[in-house]
Symmetry: C2
Subunit: 264 residues, 2 copies
Amino acid sequence: MHPAARGTLYLVPTPLDFGIKQDVPASAGEWLPAETWMTASRITHWITENAKSTRAFLKRIDAVHPLAAPLQAQHVVELPKAAHKKGDHVPHADVDAQARELLSPAELGHDMGLVSEAGMPAIADPGSSIVRAAHTLGVRVVPLTGPISLMLALAASGLNGQSFAFVGYVPQDTLERAQRLKELESLALKTGQTQIVIETPYRNAALLQGMLQTLHPHTRLAVCGALTLPQQVCRSALVNDWKRDPRLAASLPLEAPCVFLLGR
Amino acid sequence: MHPAARGTLYLVPTPLDFGIKQDVPASAGEWLPAETWMTASRITHWITENAKSTRAFLKRIDAVHPLAAPLQAQHVVELPKAAHKKGDHVPHADVDAQARELLSPAELGHDMGLVSEAGMPAIADPGSSIVRAAHTLGVRVVPLTGPISLMLALAASGLNGQSFAFVGYVPQDTLERAQRLKELESLALKTGQTQIVIETPYRNAALLQGMLQTLHPHTRLAVCGALTLPQQVCRSALVNDWKRDPRLAASLPLEAPCVFLLGR
């Protein structure tokens, strides 16, 4: 089923500070395990959301563990535009065919790395069409360990981690957002399933405001921001307490990526 | 809000090989980031699911990064029995009061570590009552990076990672299990939300069998087992293909912890 001649597709997580600052902090190596750095340093063929940030990531890898091939000799290709824009999580003949094409180096025996902008590829990020194609082609798929902001936030929330759902973004329109938040809250209170939501940083403050206006006073709301970064903060309290103590919201790094969680 | 005198509660992930083998493999240090090892080595007060395995974990930490206090001087306390048995994800006055008591070292200024048997505490494992209590007491909560089998499996499944739910265990009874699987499948197909399920290893084979008998031929089923271990395997295919090619199921390490995922 897996001829020895085929390469492996590694799912390579990246540190969570990409997109926040361009300079490499002294502690860049500290948030990925040695296994991830070592494996990544041996890869020469990459599929990515963004070639530029992947080249910056390759420089980081090289600083921690020397690259097997110099930066100029690394093959970096971007995901098909369609996958990038609309997401590639819905199987689609065209996207899936393009994904198989991108994996041709693996069919020729090269190990490949799939990366996204920050965190784990194919989780709250594109890349799943590449993984499906690998399974179709009989290319071995190996996920590597790294920070996943949704799960760091879930653990730090104190909310139910035995049953939870990540539902992506909520609508931007105030009324639609309120309606969606009510829906998610009612599901969370009825079933006990923690609901996890994200937002683009410049709308974080509006989302938090909307949550405090919309949710029941006894619903628990947790917000974790700037995870793994020096300015990281996690707050978890009943909606009532968020309203009573404005210092809770004021202490959050809402300008950085944040994860919002609600439940009972 | 957070007097400087208080300690921090660190959520400390452990390698995924605990409970599988007792000996420390040469690569023990490779699956946790340096930041996690270094932070863990400075902690002297622990809250855990199981004191014995936490002492074994402390030996591993010491081998990677010397412990700040010798093993005999480390304070290791177990979660309240109620939290351990039934789970502590449902807020309950007694469990929450006990959790606050366990955090008294943090109130006195000691940093504390929360750990579970394998992976991330409070995700598919107990510990959330301690995290809620920390927020109530104004003790800072900091999650550390490590392997989370549910997310490694989700990334490697090729299934939708933009919307997913972890629903825990399914019933053991054959008919009830079939009914629950049908429910989860119908939700996944209707909403596109990937459904993630786990089982105790000795029932993995029966669950896989049940899934192949119950699910629609065009539903995608992924199974990932022994994640981060040498015998790790991830398979993802349509139910039809699982049935047509018995080598897919035969190649899985079903005797090890596995994650099951279904979707479209």
